[in-house]
């Protein structure tokens, strides 16, 4: 399983821009996105909150296609993250 961390700027409740970090992994043709929480689990690791399970990439015209590989999946999420989550 390949995985990367992607940063994203969002706006919080006070109107301030904040950075959210996402663990983005790819396995067997499916992209899985989890928000990296600041809360720790029992092992002292940051908790991962599942956000998105994506078995295909959506194309700009509304159609869809399979991810070619992990890089293709990561590129797709990076391009569309502000539109989808």
């Amino acid at each position: 399983m390949d995985s990367i961390i992607i940063e994203r700027l969002k706006t919080d409740a006070d109107g301030n821009e904040i950075t959210k970090n996402y663990n983005v992994s790819y396995e067997l043709g499916t992209l899985v996105v989890s928000e990296i929480s600041e809360e720790k689990d029992s092992n002292g690791e940051n908790k991962l909150i599942p956000v998105m399970i994506q078995p295909w990439k959506c194309l700009p015209d509304g159609s869809r296609d399979n991810f070619a590989d992990s890089q293709d999946a990561f590129d797709w999420f990076n391009e569309f993250k502000d539109q989808v989550i």
Partner: protein, 611 residues
């Protein structure tokens, strides 16, 4: 129309709450129970809003003044609320109630008073808006009751005053938002919400959207664990598209800083994750011009910061069973209205956006019929982003599907001097080709329309709420929309109860609500057909029948009293009676006996008996 009651007591509660429990026959004016059918007061009986059953507890929001809830209706049918606090343009108080449009699924509409069951457990949800006080454009909160008794006078709330905070996750930090419960997932039993606006803290940027939200066990458990995936998504409206074959909700997001970007996704309320079905970012190419779109990304002169809502769904005539179609407003590079036609295959979630919808205006032109709002603010960093919007809505009449383009403004005066901006335009859809629309008719609202309410399920009766009048319209295929009533009241809410009666509420003398029952003046057609076209009278009385039916303006049979009068000397209704009053049937012709007693002509005059 009749004024049913002027509420007199300074308490925090809705003007009217309809008991949604099927075994209940109560409706509540403020706290007091009345018979739902006759409106007769019930002795010493009131709705319980207190979780411990002691005392009489408020319902709704109170920021120090009781009457904030006095303009609200909590009914089981369509209900639209309107804020009349400000007539300024670009003011957060002009934010429009989106509830008439949040569900595109006609089988799963949002209702402010709702009863849910999974066959074993039941729950009641009373939603209410708190749009009047404070600095919130529009927001909703809730009271719910788990496994209620036979009515809400005997049932204590499980939890009253449920706020968005109780709906959990990071949504808690966006406490002033509007979230609408839309259905129970048949598999997970979760109550699923359409997270419409998500005001963004101090700025209250609206509309925002969430990805989905739910509460467990018919909405009555694990509220704090309900999911909200991160901070809301900016620059998109959200509508509930429908339910997939797997039971999960599908939502439709439309950008309002462009016309061509849409996102459609599935919300898994079991795993609290989403799967994107379509992320459309392609600027549409020209389809050729003429009746077809020129495509492109329209210039700001044709409207900026421009929320646009999609129509209800209907079975797609091109793909057939298992698919749904809907229209989304699109204005091409020169501002021509050429909506997108979307197709959704429910089982697979496959989305297809058609950009080549032809709009034929016939002898008219768009420029002389309809005008886009160019006077509202264009900035996105404002808290009044939903003070105006465009929506196209679809309905059928006598087998023909129509699409109506509407533009609303929440301040109630913005379009007064601009008739084209307050004109609703109707197009007919080719019955086999949804990509072909033809201009049908238009109606210009007398003043700025603040919001609408559909007054019947068929959407052929329309109410338009303005600052000082409530207008009613009925639709026919021949003339389009016809104004049938103008009620000189500033309605804060208009809604339907479970029997289809229309309630309105203005603030009244005490600001606690003056409750109206609104009776529509609608055309009724009476059909009287003799069993034979001619009778040959030879000196003996001939027994025969008349087939009598009455139809409403939509062509549906109705049961009503019809007075029949024979004008002539050759026929009677029995004995020597020349008049009779009959009650028509909702399912078949009514057979009325007649006797031919002489030669010559007789006319039969029919009239509806008004009660």
């Amino acid at each position: 129309m009749a004024v049913l009651k002027t509420n007199k007591y300074a308490v925090t509660t809705a003007a009217v709450i309809e008991d949604p429990i099927p075994t209940s026959n109560y409706i509540y004016f403020q706290h007091d129970a009345h018979n739902k059918t006759t409106f007769a007061p019930q002795f010493d009986t009131w709705i319980q809003h207190n979780t411990s059953g002691t005392g009489i507890t408020n319902f709704g929001y109170n920021a120090g003044t009781n009457y904030y809830m006095g303009g609200t209706l909590v009914l089981t049918g369509n209900t639209t609320h309107v804020n009349h606090t400000s007539v300024a343009i670009n003011d957060w108080q002009c934010t429009i109630d989106p509830s008439p449009f949040v569900s595109m699924d006609t089988t799963r509409p949002f209702a402010w008073s709702k009863y849910y069951t999974d066959g074993t457990n039941t729950s009641v949800w009373l939603s209410y808006t708190q749009m009047y006080p404070g600095s919130v454009g529009f927001a909703t909160n809730f009271e719910y009751k788990l496994n209620p008794s036979t009515d809400m006078t005997k049932t204590l709330p499980t939890l009253a005053g449920v706020t968005q905070t109780n709906l959990g996750g990071s949504q808690a930090s966006n406490g002033n938002s509007a979230t609408f419960p839309v259905y129970i997932n048949p598999n997970t039993k979760n109550l699923v919400f359409c997270p419409w606006t998500n005001s963004n803290g101090a700025g209250y940027y609206i509309p925002y959207r969430g990805n989905g939200a739910h509460a467990g066990a018919l909405g009555t458990a694990n509220l704090s664990a309900s999911n909200y995936t991160g901070v809301a998504v900016a620059a998109q409206t959200i509508q509930f598209l429908g339910v997939g074959t797997d039971g999960y909700a599908t939502f439709f997001g439309n950008n309002y800083d462009s016309d061509y970007q849409q996102t459609i996704w599935k919300y898994n309320d079991s795993a609290t994750t989403i799967t994107t079905l379509a992320t459309i970012t392609a600027i549409p190419a020209s389809s050729g011009g003429g009746t077809l779109s020129l495509g492109g990304n329209r210039a700001a002169t044709f409207g900026t910061y421009f929320p646009k809502l999609a129509s209800n769904t209907f079975q797609d005539p091109l793909l057939g069973s298992g698919t749904q179609g809907f229209y989304v407003p699109f204005f091409d590079t020169v501002g021509n209205y050429n909506p997108f036609y979307f197709q959704w295959t429910i089982a697979t979630g496959v989305i297809n956006r058609n950009i080549n919808v032809a709009v034929s205006w016939g002898a008219r032109t768009q420029a002389t019929t309809w005008g886009v709002d160019t006077i509202s603010a264009s900035s996105v960093t404002v808290n009044y982003g939903f003070q105006r919007f465009v929506v196209n809505e679809t309905f059928t009449f006598s087998g023909t599907r129509y699409l109506m383009l509407m533009q609303l403004h929440g301040n109630g005066v913005a379009y007064d001097l601009y008739p084209l901006m307050r004109t609703f335009v109707v197009f007919s859809m080719n019955p086999t080709n949804p990509l072909a629309l033809t201009y049908h008719s238009f109606v210009t609202i007398p003043v700025t329309p603040k919001n609408i309410i559909w007054l019947n399920t068929a959407k052929t009766l329309l109410g338009v709420i303005t600052t000082n009048f409530f207008y009613t319209y009925s639709f026919t295929s021949g003339t389009g929309w016809t104004l049938t009533g103008s009620l000189p009241y500033q309605m804060w809410a208009v809604g339907l109860d479970s029997t289809g009666r229309i309630f309105g509420v203005d603030r009244g003398l005490t600001q606690q609500g003056q409750i109206h029952i609104i009776t529509l003046s609608v055309p009724v057609t009476v059909s009287v057909t003799p069993a034979q076209t001619t009778y040959n009278y030879t000196g003996s009385t001939i027994s025969s029948t008349l087939a009598v039916s009455a139809y409403d303006q939509s062509g549906a049979r109705i049961s009503t009293q019809v007075k029949l009068v024979i004008d002539g000397g050759s026929m009677t209704f029995g004995g020597s009676n020349l008049t009779t009053t009959v009650t028509t049937s909702t399912v078949a012709d009514l057979s009325v006996a007649i006797s031919i007693t002489d030669g010559g002509y007789s006319n039969i005059i029919a009239s509806v008996v008004l009660s």
